[in-house]
Symmetry: C2
Subunit: 345 residues, 2 copies
């Protein structure tokens, strides 16, 4: 006796090329050619095959196609540090849009800032023989560097282009992003020019990895003195900024400038100050990073560094596609950043 659908986990093999070839009265090769859009068949056979395929509800099997062909898959493996932060989700959105629009399939993994997790994930992703890899530009363990170098498909590093700026060769990886150190430096200079006194910084870390450390280093240089740092062991959020500002200011009441990991945290810090009656920027100047949407609705506009996040994703995809097509492509693409002189600093 036979049941209706059964979800036993065993593969339900659908209509195959062979079946439609049989039904259409042609060879598998001919059917393959028309279904795949290659050339070498008459209009008549084309119509015949397409009609049958349509009638039978044929869904091509990319797995078999990938195995049978030299061409490589349409899978692009993307390893992200996190999905939760607005900063990254928009980069991914730009990437995904462009990639799927030209027929690639993104496989994504969230690997945090954990070398071991990244290593594991890359290996399991590689088992699907992706045609390209997208990772975040950052310092990584030598095992991971070796893995990425040994890979035969193009890899692009997004977001961060600071690392190894000079020893960049003309080959892989492709880099698309901005110089975070320079962004931090510029903000430091700007604030140093307007305020005297001590600066503070509120950021976060995950598993001993301090996020945005390049910006912090740049800021320190630019401002001209080491800021008092509070690195929370937490995810970036409005609340983390609020809490961090409270802690840092109560420990260092004389701070004149507060720089944050990102805009959301900066807004949290701003809210704290406003609620405590601290004058912004009269008593404390506040700056963020990212140019996130929230900054635009505040009564005192946030001073920040604006980054075109969608563009980073889009450009990363475009450069990858060029590389896959064998077209010339910039090995390093700097999308830059823009200092927004708001009213909080």
């Amino acid at each position: 006796m036979s049941m209706g659908k059964s979800n036993t986990g065993s593969k339900a093999r659908g209509v195959s090329l062979a079946e439609i070839a049989l039904e259409a009265g042609v060879s598998r090769m001919t059917a393959s050619r028309v279904l795949r859009g290659a050339d070498g068949y008459s209009e008549a056979t084309k119509d015949k095959v397409l009609a049958v395929a349509n009638r039978l509800g044929y869904v091509p099997n990319r797995i078999a196609a990938a195995l049978g062909s030299d061409a490589g898959t349409s899978l692009v493996a993307i390893a992200l540090p996190t999905l939760g932060r607005e900063l990254y989700s928009q980069v991914l959105e730009g990437l995904e849009n462009k990639l799927t629009s030209v027929g690639y399939q993104p496989i994504i993994g969230v690997v945090g800032y954990d070398d071991e997790a990244e290593f594991q994930w890359l290996n399991s992703a590689l088992a699907w023989r992706p045609c390209a890899l997208v990772v975040t530009g950052r310092e990584r363990s030598s095992a991971n560097r070796t893995l990425l170098q040994s890979v035969t498909v193009p890899v692009v590093e997004m977001w961060n282009i600071d690392q190894g700026y000079d020893q960049q060769t003309t080959s892989d990886p492709l880099r698309v992003g901005l110089n975070h150190r320079a962004a931090g430096y510029e903000m430091g200079r700007y604030l140093a020019g307007r305020y005297r006194g001590q600066a503070g910084y509120v950021g976060t870390k995950i598993n001993d990895t301090t996020l945005g450390s390049d910006r912090l280093a740049g800021f320190s240089d630019g401002f001209g003195s080491e800021p008092r740092c509070l690195i929370l062991n937490d995810r970036s959020s409005f609340y983390a900024g609020y809490y961090g500002a409270e802690q840092l200011l109560s420990a260092n009441p004389s701070l004149r400038v507060l720089y944050f990991l990102d805009d959301n945290m900066a807004v949290g810090g701003l809210m704290f100050c406003l609620q405590k009656g601290i004058k912004i920027p009269g008593e404390v100047a506040i700056a963020g990073f990212g140019g996130l949407d929230v900054g635009s609705v505040l009564s005192t506009k946030l001073t920040t560094t604006k980054v075109r996040r969608l563009k980073i994703g889009k450009l990363a995809a475009e450069n990858l596609i060029k590389r896959l097509n064998g077209e010339p492509v910039a090995v390093m693409d700097d999308v830059g950043f823009e200092l927004i002189k708001g009213e909080t600093a």
Copy 2:
């Protein structure tokens, strides 16, 4: 003459099972067994094979494995409406975490609220023979409904469980989410109990699809009268809320209550009111939806409906996994919601 790496796009075939079998002096079958972790081999051969595999840097080919086996792939196809909204990105995060932790690979696609785009994407994803499908619960075209029903793998609908609540059979799709109509209704009731007068609603639409329409309908019922609606043709954002509040209030100065598509928009609206000196909630009461992080740092806490977004993703993944394992699973999983009685309404 031979070059170093070449990225010509042609597949660089790596070490194969056959090679490691040869090198280890066993048959391909035996090598396959140990590499795949099946049983039926001695410790000695196991060590021998593993050593060779390790030395040669063997990366198994899941594509070939999938084709050769009945077992179905480890690919899970996930179609999302958007990545940009915090509301969804956290659902995805929960899903992704759980799925990859047990060895599944998420393939994601952003299909907006566009039936045609969803249809296209599902078809191309299906060509990779995923072992499951994850989509957003919503009203869809009959073509898409038919496609989803004809599929032989489990499908789960996330986020929204309103549609077709009653005609739910014991089979697919699995549903995980909340009743948005009920959430809107509860908020409407709550506000109607505290404020007299006319309500307004600010939301957005994409391609003629009004987002959160179930909540709006519920709110209308609960409040007891149709709100004045402003549906912007834009993405949800702080600024859209700011702008929407400005427009709606200037056209309807007598509005007593303002309900928003989500918290970010509500905060934008709140900012507008505060900047105009409108007393909250004395003159206008404001409510959002989502329980997003931003609500927690405001000096006047936002009145909203809190939703456990990570949990939706996690539960969706867990139920899917149970189904794939043939274990019993709730066909409908309601994570509920919680009315947060803040200070803005």
